[in-house]
Symmetry: C2
Subunit: 353 residues, 2 copies
DNA sequence: GTTTGGCACTCCATGGGTATGACTGCTAAA
DNA sequence: TTTAGCAGTCATACCCATGGAGTGCCAAAC
């Protein structure tokens, strides 16, 4: 039903306008409002017909029979992906970001916290920041175990215990001897090193000299990446009180759900960590998840903008903005990206421990 | 008007009962309810007369003409100080506290956070924990400067910059030479030391060997104490969503005020730091502040239970519970004291860095 | 075929009016 | 000093009528 082809130019414009108007007013938007405020060159009756089709297509919904329309998840999605004009940082915003980082702390925890305050202040929503994990555990042991000719188990042990264990499926048969040789090579080279200091490049070099396949190399990399992330990640959030301004959170149940999520590190982490899970995150590219795309049902009326940031070879973190679905996506994406870029630069500059 | 003497036995019982009932029901309590639920041996009319006098005495207030009575700040205060039966920890609570600390982290930040979660869970309110400040700056320089024969300026400089500067008034004339000699002695003995490791006893010894007066010794001590505290204190809060259950926070403005306070480290700090300001805090002695006693107007409908905790000679922190004035004081005081005691023991046991 | 004006219909939000009930304070008698 | 009784007050809940916003549909116009 939802299909690119069923959005001709006029429908697209109407959809975009409905979303835009709803984002600004928080009121369901009706055909007359649309015809009056934006000169569509057609009458409200025509708009009514189009809106009925947009509703049939799943882009709009009606809160009740005699109300205007409100965007659905799919409506917002289409708006964000195809209809919304991109925005770049306003002069004022970028100045405020610059000022903030000019006098920012040198301590990672503090920087992360200050960044969430900045971002929540600028965005008027809840801001979240996930710090790059800084794992100081010592490497102990790694073992690639032969399970069958096409599957293996990779185990990484650090001073904190088993830090990663994952089953790998090979596309070609492997020999137990090859796995043992690679394990030995890794162990002899890495013994006693701090997890944090083991760069992907190191792993690649060892794998190569041990004659491991590209596939094995990737498996080792991923296992080590996982082992690093086992460390409790540092995460901060700020600006929950901003959400009180939004009419959608005047319902106490929704508010409670949000507050619980903010206080539970774990849920908060899950919310933003997806951003890290993908392949290499594209630099400072903001990413939006809307309503049910977020997973948890309590968040079905929320959206999240996430953007990764990175510094040096020390790892990658995530900034995020959580708010009602009815959020100014383009602006928030620009804000998040800009802040992420500045944060990365700042972290590089001050050479945080 | 408010005076011990105007509380005869029956008035005291009625006041206590009103407070108790209101704490449990959150509804203004009327004379008939009182007569029926608690057998006072007198009729509701008599109780009405007594309540009218309690209101005249400032212990009770009426939300509006035809409503029951609600305790005033003074009413709560009298209840807490003189009428309320003390409680000790229930078996269940003390087990939960014990269990929590048995498997608690060894990392100070984590312990503090876990403690706030525990305490907010047990109390059903917002819990706050202030960690003992742990200053790792290096000592650089101290100077006692002669301003006049009776006044001096003491400056302490650490690797973080000027950490303390205070004017002292002497009760007797002092000589510039004496101040210089003392300054030199301190600098030569303390050069390069970490602030945290400089014990009061060290300072005393140096002062004594330099022939300084008791007054000077105290001035030096205080300057160093101030220099240590300059470090941003670590503070954590948890359980804001608990407050949503309380009817007094269904008003969005009040809720927003609370959320702002929770997110602003500074305000939060001010709220609990009073506990440290007094003389030596009595060990694990819980302390209650009610409504306007707290200072900030936004908190005029809240109460706070604070209790200091200490471990070794490493410093002192504070646990606190913030909630509506209508809180079960005796229970919360027992909870806070018990948790503070266990926290102190835990910190001693694991010898946190 | 598309667009438009007109019209009937639906549903929510609002406001006034009224009933209800939980109090109190007062008075007069015990 | 206590008590019963009673009149008075005020917040709350509820009902119902009204108004308004918006839709869907149809027949006519383009």
């Amino acid at each position: 039903m939802i299909d690119k082809t069923d959005l001709d130019k006029r429908k697209a414009f109407i959809l975009a306008t409905v979303v835009y108007e709803y984002i600004n007013t928080a009121e369901p938007v009706g055909s007359v409002t649309l015809a009056q405020k934006y000169n569509l060159g057609v009458s409200s009756a025509t708009i009514r017909n189009e809106m009925a089709e947009l509703e049939a297509g799943g882009y709009l919904v009606q809160p009740h029979t005699s109300a205007g329309r409100v965007p659905s998840d799919a409506g917002y999605r289409t708006y964000v992906d195809r209809l919304m004009p991109a925005e770049s940082l306003t002069k004022d915003d970028s100045r405020r970001i610059r000022d903030q980082f000019r006098e920012a702390s040198r301590e990672l925890t503090d920087v992360i916290e200050q960044t969430t305050r900045l971002l929540s202040g600028l965005s008027g929503n809840l801001a979240i920041a996930l710090a790059p994990s800084r794992d100081t555990h010592a490497f102990k042991h790694v073992q690639l175990l032969w399970l069958s000719s096409r599957t293996s188990l990779v185990v990484v042990v650090t001073s904190a215990g088993v830090a990663a264990q994952r089953v790998v499926e090979w596309s070609n048969d492997v020999l137990a001897d090859d796995l043992t040789r690679l394990s030995n090579a890794l162990n002899s080279h890495l013994g006693g090193r701090i997890m944090e200091d083991i760069a992907s490049a190191d792993l690649d070099r060892i794998c190569e000299s041990a004659g491991a396949s590209a596939e094995m190399r990737d498996a080792v990399r991923q296992a080590f990446a996982q082992a690093r992330q086992t460390d409790e990640p540092e995460i901060a959030a700020a600006g929950a009180q901003n959400l009180l301004d939004q009419p959608e959170f005047h319902d106490l149940r929704k508010l409670r759900a949000i507050l619980r999520i903010v206080e539970e590190q774990r849920t908060l982490y899950d919310l933003v960590a997806d951003e890290l899970a993908g392949d290499l995150p594209r630099k400072s590219q903001a990413h939006v998840r809307i309503g049910h795309e977020l997973g948890p049902d309590e968040l079905s009326e929320c959206s999240v903008v996430t953007v990764p940031y990175s510094f040096g070879d020390r790892g990658v973190g995530v900034l995020a903005i959580l708010g009602p679905r009815r959020m100014p996506y383009a602006r928030l994406m620009a804000l998040a990206s800009g802040t992420a870029r500045s944060l990365g630069e700042h972290l590089n500059d001050v050479e945080i421990r």
